[in-house]
C-alpha cells in the first residue's frame, strides 16, 4: 500500500513562500511525475513528503495516516537522490544492505534481499566494488537498489537522471518505468524535463511558482491544457502563441498552435499565414522550421524530414482549425 495525500500543504523558508497551498491525492501504485521549471518548488514538495523538510502548515497523509511530523525513517519511503548519495567507503553490497542493517534485519534476510535487488538491477557482478569504480548508470542502479530492499510504501526520485548522458538517460528512463510495472509500488518522480514526464508518468503534476497548474494524465495535459503555462510547458517543441487581432478572430485573448498542427505549403492558399524560413533544424525524422510570419512573429513548425527548406524560403502556414487552443486574458483555457 502506498497512497499519499497532501492537504493544504504550505511551506515557507522565513519570509519566502515556496509552496503557497497544495492539495494532491496520489493513488496507490501510481507513477506520478512532478514537473516544472527550476525553482518551482517541485523538489521542496518531494522533500516535504520525504520528511527532510518541516511542513509549515497542512497535512501529509500516507495510507491515511497523518505523517506530517514523523521523522523520515518512520514514513517508510525510499528516496533516490540526484547525486545518488551512495556511501563512498562502502561496497555496493554494503550500500544496498545499509537500510536493512539499520533496521536490524537478520543476516540471511539481508543477503537474500541484496541478492534479489542485485539480480533485478543487473548489479550482481559489481557487488564487491566501491561506488567510485562504477559508471554513472551503475551508481544510479545501486541507489535504486538501496531503495528497493526496504520495500517502501513509495519511491521518491529527485531528478535522478540529470547527471547522466543523453543515451543513458533514455535507457534508465525505460528501466525505471519497467521497474514500476514490476513492483507496482507508488513512485513520485521529480524532473524539469517534460519528455521524461510525458514518457514515464501515469499522471503528471505541473508546478509553477509553488502552485499546481494541472494534475492529469500525460495526454490530458497535451490535449487539454488548463492554461497557457501548461500548454507552453508540455510538448516539444513549444507551442506557438499568438496574441492580438489574429486571436480575436477566434474570440480569445490569445491562441496557441502546436508546431505539429500546421499544414505547410510553398504556394499561397487563402487564409494561410505567409512567412520566411529563418533556421531549419533537420533531425532526419523531423525538421523544425523557425518561420518569421509577418505580423505574428517567430513560429516553430514541425514537418517531416523529407522536405528540405533553406533560409529565406517563402512558406505558407495553415493551422489545423480543430487544434487551436484558446486562452482568455488570465491565461486560462477557454
Amino acid at each position: 500500500m502506498g497512497s499519499i495525500s497532501l492537504q493544504h500543504v504550505k511551506k515557507s523558508f522565513g519570509e519566502v513562500q515556496i509552496i503557497p497551498d497544495i492539495s494532491l491525492d496520489i493513488k496507490d501504485g501510481e507513477f506520478v511525475v512532478f514537473v516544472g521549471p527550476s525553482g518551482c518548488g517541485k523538489s521542496t514538495l518531494l522533500r516535504l513528503i520525504a520528511g527532510l523538510e518541516d511542513t509549515t502548515s497542512g497535512q501529509i497523509l500516507l495510507d491515511g495516516e497523518d505523517m506530517t511530523k514523523a521523522p523520515p525513517a518512520r514514513r517508510g519511503l525510499a528516496m533516490v537522490f540526484q547525486s545518488y548519495a551512495l556511501y563512498p567507503h562502502m561496497s555496493v553490497r554494503d550500500n544496498i544492505a545499509f537500510p536493512l542493517k539499520m533496521a536490524k534485519a537478520p543476516k540471511e534476510v539481508i543477503d537474500q534481499k541484496v541478492e534479489y535487488a542485485a539480480r533485478t538491477l543487473n548489479l550482481s557482478s559489481y557487488l564487491d566494488r566501491r561506488p567510485r569504480a562504477l559508471s554513472g548508470g551503475q551508481r544510479q542502479r545501486v541507489a535504486i537498489g538501496r531503495a528497493i530492499v526496504r520495500e517502501p510504501k513509495a519511491f521518491l526520485f529527485d531528478e535522478p537522471l540529470s547527471n547522466l548522458d543523453a543515451a543513458l538517460r533514455v535507457n534508465m528512463r525505460l528501466e525505471i518505468t519497467e521497474l514500476h510495472q514490476q513492483l507496482k509500488t507508488t513512485m513520485i518522480y521529480v524532473t524539469h524535463d517534460q519528455v521524461e514526464a510525458m514518457t514515464m508518468a501515469d499522471r503528471i503534476v505541473v508546478l509553477n511558482a509553488g502552485n499546481v497548474e494541472q494534475f492529469g494524465s500525460p495526454l490530458d495535459l497535451y490535449k487539454k491544457p488548463a492554461n497557457r503555462f501548461v500548454a507552453g510547458f508540455i510538448g516539444s517543441p513549444k507551442m506557438n502563441f499568438i496574441d492580438g487581432s489574429e486571436a480575436a478572430k477566434h474570440n480569445a485573448h490569445s491562441i496557441g498552435v502546436r508546431p505539429e498542427h500546421f499544414t505547410l505549403a510553398t504556394s499561397a492558399t487563402s487564409d494561410a499565414w505567409k512567412g520566411k524560413v529563418g533556421v531549419a533544424e533537420q533531425l532526419g525524422s523531423d525538421t523544425f522550421l523557425h518561420v518569421h510570419v509577418e505580423g505574428l512573429g517567430l513560429m516553430t513548425i514541425r514537418t517531416d524530414g523529407d522536405q528540405t527548406f533553406s533560409h529565406g524560403d517563402d512558406v505558407y502556414l495553415t493551422p489545423d482549425p480543430t487544434r487551436i487552443y484558446r486562452f482568455d486574458a488570465a491565461g486560462l483555457a477557454i
Partner: protein, 290 residues
Amino acid sequence: MATAQTRTLSRVMMAPAVIVLLIWMIVPLVMTLWFSFQNYSLINPMMTGFAGWGNYRYVLGDPSFTQSLINTLILVGGVLVITIVGGTLLALLLDQPIWGQGILRIIVISPFFVMPPVAALIWKNGFMHPGYGMLGHLWKAFGLQPVDWFNQYPLFSVIVIVAWQWLPFATLILLTALQSLSEEQREAAEMDGANAINRFYYIILPHMARSITIVILIQTIFLLGIFAEIRVTTGGGPGYASTNIAFLVFRTGILSNDIGAGSAGGVVAVVIANIVAIFLMRAVGKNLDA
C-alpha cells in the same frame, strides 16, 4: 616544462634555493653526527678526541633515557587522544547552525595563535598554580586541598597544556572535513533509518578518516619535539618524570654541558622519530590513498 631547454633553465634557476636549503639541513646534521663521536664537554676542555660509541653507550645506557622514551610516547599518545576525540566533538558542535558562528570559530581556534611558552606560562600561573591558580581556587571553593599539578601530575599537566594548544588545529581540520560531507548523503542515511549515532559511526566517521589521519601525522611530527612547555613549567621534573627525549637532549647537552652526549641523544631522537613515522604510516597511511 616541455622542452629540454626549459627544463635545463628551470633547474639552473632553482639551483641556488635548493643548494641553500641543502646546506641549511646537511651542515647541522653532519656537525651533530661529528660531535656525537667526539669527547666534547664544556666543563672539561682537556677531554677531547674521538669517543667511538662512548657517547651513544652513555645516552642509551642511562636509565633516564628509557623513562624519557616512555614519557615521549605517553605525551604524544595522550595529546593525540585528547585532540582527536575532543576535536571531533567540537567539530560536530561547531557544525550546528548557530548565531555568531563566525566569531565562535575564531575564538575556538585562537589558542593555536598563542606561542607555546606563553601558553605554558598562562597555564602554569593562571590555572595550575596551587596558591593563586584558578583551579586551586576552584578546589578551595569546594573545600578541597588544591592540587600541586606540576609536582603531583607533572606529565599529565604537560599533556593538558599541549592538548589545549593543539585542540584548535584538530578541530579546524576535522570541521572542514565534516563540512565537505554531502548533505544528500546525510539525508540518505536518515531516510535509510540510521539514527544520529549510526549516522556518526557509519557515515560521518568514515568520511573523516582521511582528515583524522592527517591530524595524527602532522601532530605527531610536532609533538615528538615538545620542548618549550616542559622548559617553562616542570623543567623536566620532578626527577625525570616529565622529561621527553627532546628535553633529555637539552638536559644532557646544555644543562650538563656535555655536547658529545647531547649530540648522540639528538641523533637517537632523529632515529626514533623515523621509527615512529614508519609505524604510523603503516598503521594509518592507507587512509591517505584516494
